[in-house]
Each structure stands twice: as C-alpha cells, then as structure tokens.
C-alpha cells in the first residue's frame, strides 16, 4: 500500500519573534523586524507526513498558496524530503479570507487527483484562526481530526489519531481519505538535509525567475510547479477579496499606555509598604 499524502503549508511573519526589540517606541509592532517563516505547526504536519511515508510508503506533496516568494516554504519542504511541491499563486487569490483560501486549496487538492491523507498545522501564527483545515475538509466532503497530537496507525481504509480535547485526549478513528490538523507536540520536525539543500537550493517558482531562467530550471528539474486560478478550475467569484465574506472594518494598533505605576525599591522598608497597601485593599482576602 502506498499513500498519497498532501501537506498544506503557509508562509507567515514570525510573530513569535516579537520581543521588546521588535516593538516601536510607541508600543506598536515593527513589521520589518519580523522574518517570513514556515508556519511552525505546518512544519509538524510535514514531519507527520514524512513519518507516515517512512512507515507505510507513499508520496508527500506540499501545497502552499501565496505570492511567488512563498516558494521558500516549498524549498524548505524539499530540503526536508518532500517528493513534490506546488505553489498556488494568482493575483485573484490575494486578500482571501479562510473561506476563500479553503476553496482554492480544495480545488488544488482535487486537481492532484488521488489523495488519502491531507495534513496541515492546526493554525497559523499570524491569524491563529484554526479554520482552514476544517473548512478544506468540508469543501472536499471529508472527515477531520483536528488538534492531532499523535497519529497512531493507518490501514487501507482508516486512520486513527490522538487528538487534544478540553479535558484530555481522545483517540479517534475516521475513514480515509481524511483531513488531520496537527499541533506542535506531534513529532519534532527534522532539520533540512545538507544533501537536499545542495540539490534544491536553486529550485524556483516561475514567478521568481525570468522566462529564460525558468526554462533552464525546468531542464534541470528545478522549476517549482505553479498553478493559477484557471489551472485549478477555480471560480473567480469565490477567490480573493471577492470570495471572502469577512471584511475588515477597522484595524487598531495595540499601544501600550503607561499606567500610573507605583515603583517600589527592593528594600525591606519599601516592600513592606507595598504589602501594607495590598493588604489594606483586601487583595489577599
């Protein structure tokens, strides 16, 4: 048995790198201080896919949607052992909310033909919505297991996995094909392989290269496959801004305002004063 495993990955700004250093003096975020990275939980999804391939045999295909520069996560997938990668890029995809994104991804997944398991991270660190996985599952009419901590086993008709729930864990079994979203406790992602970096570091998407370069890359098997809206048969009214029912009414920067802070020195006298004040306000009652 050989499984077709599809991994959905997203390139995101590294919001976790936000520290006081990435903050402007007015308390807002300095976006340029944030690098674009492989969404962490998607990296765990890729690892889960690679482990399934090692255990059961199969092909791992990574799909990402984004501008041509998002091909970076596809290169990183190749460095870690993905068999195929596909970039979904089209100006009509820009501004997609989760509903439009899941529509586009589900069209692309359908175009790949046969698939058994679709894996993605539970959520992306830029939006933290955790919506795209279940929305893709719904569009494809597939069962889902969200917040997977561990895939237990697969056979030709079903998959079982431990998922995180409110009060602990649940072991679920669903028929294949199925969509699984994984959390970051699911297997530590392997580092890129030096050999594969050498082999794939020149791989590029057509949008990243000139037509001549693209042809040369194609001859060397280093041209990343790219699909646009037409190629996946997407209805343009369901893509991008047009296909997104959610609209942003307003964006407000979070500005930390200094409160009237009372400073106490680290001396016994001063700390006693602080405790007295807290006691008088019944804070400890």
């Amino acid at each position: 048995m050989s499984y077709r495993i599809i991994v959905l990955a997203k390139q995101v700004p590294d919001t976790k790198a936000i520290s006081s250093k990435a903050m402007n003096p007015d308390g807002t975020l300095n976006r340029s201080a944030l690098p674009a990275i492989f969404n962490p939980e998607d990296l765990h999804a890729l690892e889960a896919g690679l482990q399934l391939r090692e255990r059961y045999g199969g092909i791992v295909t990574v799909i990402t949607m984004g501008p041509p520069s998002a091909a970076e996560v596809l290169r990183e997938s190749l460095y870690r052992g993905a068999d195929e990668v596909i970039l979904l890029t089209d100006r009509y995809f820009a501004g997609s909310d989760t509903l439009a994104t899941s529509y586009i991804l589900s069209r692309a997944i359908s175009k790949t033909g046969h698939y058994d398991i679709i894996l993605c991270g539970r959520q992306a660190i830029d939006g933290n919505t955790a919506q795209v996985g279940p929305q893709v599952a719904e569009k494809l009419g597939l069962p889902q297991i969200t917040s997977v901590e561990e895939i237990v086993q697969i056979d030709s008709v079903k998959i079982s996995a431990w998922k995180m729930v409110e009060r602990g864990k649940e072991l679920l079994e669903v028929p294949l094909p199925a969509v699984l979203t994984v959390v970051d406790t699911a297997g530590k992602p392997r580092p890129p392989s030096a050999k594969k970096i050498m082999r794939f570091k020149k791989a590029q998407a057509p949008g990243e290269a000139t037509p001549e370069e693209a042809q040369a890359l194609k001859d060397r098997g280093l041209l990343i496959r790219e699909w646009n809206a037409e190629q996946i048969g997407a209805d343009l009214s369901r893509c991008g801004v047009q296909g997104s029912p959610t609209k942003v009414q307003k964006i407000k920067k979070v500005v930390l305002k200094a409160k009237d802070i009372k400073q106490y020195a680290a001396t016994d006298e001063s700390l006693s004063q602080l405790l007295q004040e807290l006691i008088q306000e019944h804070t400890f009652d």
Binding site: I18, T98, N128, V132, K139
Partner: protein, 340 residues
C-alpha cells in the same frame, strides 16, 4: 436580506453540565439580541438533554433548539456539523456564536464552510455597529462587529460579514461575564427531529484519556507567574514558594513553558489561558504582547523585573526593579511577618 433573524449560541456540554465558555458567550449573545430586539436562542445537542434546555431557559433564552440523538451525546464533528447546518438553513439566524474551545474551533469552521459564510475566530469582544462598504459606499446597519487580536496580538481588528448570514464568530474563553440564572425560565423549546444519515462517515471515538486539570487559573484570585527571566527550572521554585505562601496559582509565559520550567497547563496568554485575578504577580516577565493579552485585565498587576524598560511595566500598577532571588524571599518573609 433578512435583518430580524435570531441570535444563536451553541451550547457545549458534557453530560448535563454546560461549559462555562458557552454560558459566557450566551450572556453576550443575550446583550446583542436585546440591542437588535430579536430573540436569543440556545442550540443544544445531545442524547437526553432536556435538562440542559431547561437550564438555558433559566439563563434567559427565548428559544432553545433541542436536537436529541444518541450520536450527539459525545461530540464528534460530522453528525453535529450536518445537523446544525440543516438547522441554520431552515431557521436562518442573523448571528451564530460558539466558544473558541477546541470543540468550538473544530465545529465552527466546518459549519461556515458548509454554509459559505464568514467566520471570525477567537473574538475578544462583540458589538453591534455600522459598516460602510468602501467601494459601493453602501451602509450596513446593525451588523455584528467581531473584534479580535491579529498579528500575534499586535493589532486589534474589527471584522464584519456584511453580505452573508448568519454572521459567525467563535469567542475566547474567560473574557465575557457569566450570566445569572433565574428561578424559572420561559423559553420556547423547539425539538428538532434530526436523523443522522451517512453513518459511514461517523468518526468513531475508540479511546479517551481524560486528564483532570490540576491547574485552575481561570478561577484563581491571585496568580504568581514566571517568565523566561526566572532563568532556570530550579529558580522557578521561587515562584512556587511565593504562590504557596499567598495561596495563589502558578502561571507562566510561553517562553517559560517552552524552556521546560513548567508544563503548558500553567501558560497564561494568547495561546494559553486568559486570566483576570485580583492580583497578578509577574516575575521575570518582559511582557510580550501575547502574554499581555492574557492577563492585562487583572485587577492589580505587580511586576518584578531586573530590566526597568521591560514592557510589562507599562501595564503594571506596582513595579519592583530588582532580582527575583532577592525580592521574592524578602516578600515571603515580610508577608509572613505581616499576616501571621
């Protein structure tokens, strides 16, 4: 478009016990419905859960949609998603809210995708307001304003769904107030006959490991929390010691959890628990925006940090610039002396 639809709240439950997160959202849903002058309804699924419906009536529901079937007793995605999708199509509510719990986040996107409507995850506030479409200049009144942090909490976005109904959102736990229960209720309980078809796609629960939550951060009156600045797991004992003396719970930042100082159950912040204790003592916490999002509504915040410039001081009421190794033992000693 129908503008007088109801406000619905999905009620998450375990047996007859209603999840607190659902009650919190229900109280918000009640306020929104009042503003819109429409009924607020609870959506209850389970096997024999008439009692849950009656409880929601006492909490002030005008209507309860009650869907009973053995397949609904334990939550699994597909049977519930399909039944609720049919229900929404039939009754066309204006607003549909769910808790941003693991279960709510499993179910809500499935519904939104099936219904082809917008969904905003993890809202921290909901209001009713107006949206003017920047292109068509068309004004949409009485819309649900869905307010949520974006970009890792560095931005607060207000999202609207002007064209699609219901307007769907999941709401973060621990943000809204709990509603008050009355002695009696007057809800119209609407029993829906909902056969579950395509059994073949039923996910089967074949095992469960329930870990009792040992940490109750949400209910804690005082929380002593440690960050990466604590330094080592050994030094994190200081946090436990202070918590024990004060009768407090122990909290932590994501960095402290990632460093292995303490386990994830203790994490406060955007990816952990949102807390609102009377007193929050932040020890060695620089104050990333993600952490602040989870604790800044605490009654009083005391920050202890060696770095006087740390952002935590911008939300703190009391600040001590100093080394935890000196400050915490001194606080313990002085507290014991003053509160024997």
């Amino acid at each position: 478009m129908k503008t007088d639809g109801e406000v619905w709240v999905y009620i998450q439950r375990q047996g007859q016990e209603i999840a607190e997160a659902s009650l919190e959202i229900f109280s918000k849903g009640k306020d929104l419905a009042k503003q819109l002058a429409v009924p607020v309804a609870a959506v209850v699924l389970g096997d024999e859960v008439q009692q849950v419906a009656e409880t929601m009536s006492r909490y002030g529901a005008h209507k309860v949609y009650l869907l009973q079937a053995p397949q609904f007793e334990q939550y699994t995605t597909l049977p519930q998603a399909r039944a609720i999708t049919r229900l929404v199509k039939q009754y066309q509510p204006a607003i549909f809210l769910l808790a941003a719990t693991p279960q709510g986040r499993d179910l809500a996107p499935r519904l939104a995708s099936a219904l082809g409507v917008g969904l905003t995850a993890d809202c921290t506030d909901l209001r009713i307001g107006t949206y003017a479409d920047p292109k068509t200049k068309q004004k949409h009144a009485n819309l649900l304003l869905q307010i949520r942090p974006a970009w890792g909490g560095n931005l607060i976005a207000t999202i609207v769904n002007p064209e699609t109904r219901p307007q769907m959102a999941t709401v973060r736990e621990g943000i809204m107030r709990l509603p008050e229960q009355q002695n009696s209720g007057t809800a119209e309980i609407i029993t829906i006959q909902s056969g579950v078809s395509s059994e073949d796609l039923l996910p089967r629960i074949i095992g469960q490991r329930i870990t009792e939550r040992r940490v109750n951060l949400k209910q804690a009156k005082i929380i002593v929390s440690g960050g990466a600045g604590v330094g080592t797991k050994e030094k994190f004992h200081l946090i436990h010691q202070l918590a024990r003396v004060l009768g407090a719970e122990v909290g932590a930042t994501r960095a402290a959890v990632d460093a292995g100082f303490i386990d994830h159950d203790h994490q406060v912040g955007q990816t952990g628990t949102t807390v609102r204790p009377k007193l929050y003592i932040a020890c060695g916490i620089s104050g990333t925006i993600q952490h602040l999002a989870g604790m800044e509504e605490s009654g009083k915040i005391l920050a202890i940090n060696t770095d006087a410039e740390a952002p935590i001081f911008s939300v703190a009421h009391y600040g001590i610039v100093g080394d935890l190794q000196d400050v915490i033992p001194a606080l313990i000693r002085l507290y014991k002396a003053q509160r024997p």
